[in-house]
Amino acid sequence: MIKIKKSDFSTFITNLQKNYSVFAPVTDGKATAFKKIKSAEDINNKVLNTKRSPKEIFFPQSEVLFQYTEEGIKVPKREEKPFAIWGMRNCDTKSLLLLDKVFGEAHQMPKKDMYKDPYWKEKYDNCLVFNLACNKPLSTCFCNWFDGGPFNNTGSDIFVIENDENYIFEAVSDKGKKFLKEFKTAEQVSDKEIKKIEKLKETAESYLAEKEDISSLFSKTKEIWDETIWDEIAAKCINCGACAFVCPTCHCFDVSDEGKGKKGKRIRLWDSCMFAIFTKEASGHNPRSQSLQRVRQRVMHKYNYFMDNYDEHLCTGCGRCVVVCPVNLDIREVIKKIIRY
């Protein structure tokens, strides 16, 4: 483990920017979000969970796939430098692994050479992810239900712990090891400081609400598909897309052509299974015309279908949807209800 002084943070970021496009949590009068920063001053290291999730760095809400004219198609030029993301929390770094199963890796799927999304891969494959430990989890955090935690580091390259004076770095992946090796100006961390980290970790974990044993969640969801429990769960949902749009793991998209005359562009846009139009077919028929069916879809995708395909829940317990839902449909309560049904 090595460390840098907090007072050197700004230099650290400037150096990082030489080789990377750096993204970090930014508060600028709009919802806190991960944005490409100009300098360290833009960074808000205090915010725990950004309002908008970092998935948009790799999978933006709207992304031009290509432009077309009569001559043919043109794929927009990408960023040249690889991305470095500073200040992600464990619930977010983990979400990247989950999204990568869909867009990138595609491992464990029946067919090995599944389609890999070039737009995702090009940004994700070379990126460097710094996972900042959460010293003070929120009351809506429930990463511990999904084997994550304020001091876990799954899905990151470098784990960062903040104490009063320093940022302490620990390599997680090979990419992270390589980065830290070349990082000459850092100091070694003393044993005493390492001991103190244990304390920070204990305190952070004590902030989390009680862990729910969700081992039966998958099997339970298999049994309840046509049960009345969904009436109860879904009744108050107004089918907006707030939960899906702030969620770091929701990844449904729509493709839309915007053209005029003989030229235009094809755009990929976030979509949500909560929207009525999501499954509306060209004939006018809608297999999920009712709210209940759509709520069930979102819950089942998170805690059943994704598990079926990839052996993981499509939720990291970040709690963002809990905070934004305008009718207080709390996904933690949904999970508890299902388990106890």
Partner: protein
Amino acid sequence: MIQNLRTEVKKLLKDKKVDIVLGWGKGSLPLSSTPVFIQKEEDADRLIFDETCRNNLTTYLTKDKRKLGKTYDKIGIIVKGCDARSIVLYAVEKQINKENVVIIGVPCNGILEKKKVLQKTENKEILESKIDGKNVHLKGRDFDLTIPLKDVLCDSCLTCRYPDAPVHDIFIGKPRKKVDIKDEFKNVIDFEKKSSQERWEYIKEEYSKCIRCYACRNVCPACYCNECFVDQNDPQWIGKTPEVTDSIIFHLIRNLHVAGRCVDCGACVSACPVDLDLRIMNKKVEKEIKERFDYTAGLDVNEKPAMASYCENEKQDFIMG
């Protein structure tokens, strides 16, 4: 008050006057409530009414299947003043048969805007809260704060002239008549004084926050179209990106769609996850309608709505010629 409400609801269910009652229950987060749908007498004890009862539950009344799932013959609904006015809107627009809805009014002292509270705590998380008539007491991990309730009420509540359901079948307690408010349109008047450049900058800045989640539309009682114009894709009326050029069209059209129908319940404002100022334009349109047609939405079931009627001596100065 709350006991009387619960007793009343139990009675309605027992006498089979209603099949279901829409009300608020305790939410899972501090300063939150959540819609509850009561069908059994004993469940009526879950009902609450206080400054956290934010949602305008009338949005669940429209026949559109996206709300409430099933259809019920007789529905009871607990309403604040603004909510009651949405029911009038539904009746005027023939969306419900008022005979089938039992309107239960509760005395409203204003609803708390959680976003304002979070500004006061500088976005620090609230872990415990208590509201005692005049003040809100908040506790977080490293702070203790007491703030006057009036500083954190919804903007809509601060200018509300009809806090107690102007139309109701049952009222818990005694309804106040209209409350006198002098500067109902203050935010609009201040805004109108700015230069067009400044106004444009503000609107652009605000609408560029939008993530197109449609929470504002979906909580809104006035937005009940089976197919919203933003969802139509043949033809596709507007672009679907979160770029301000697209989202501004969504918002301006929605402003016009709710013109003379918006009851300023503020549900959209509170629902927006990115804190967009949705009220300024709605209030501007409301002011225009008030000045031009002397019409206030949701007060009288028999009055013709401003946008659905015509009379010869209406102001026509907006027609350029």
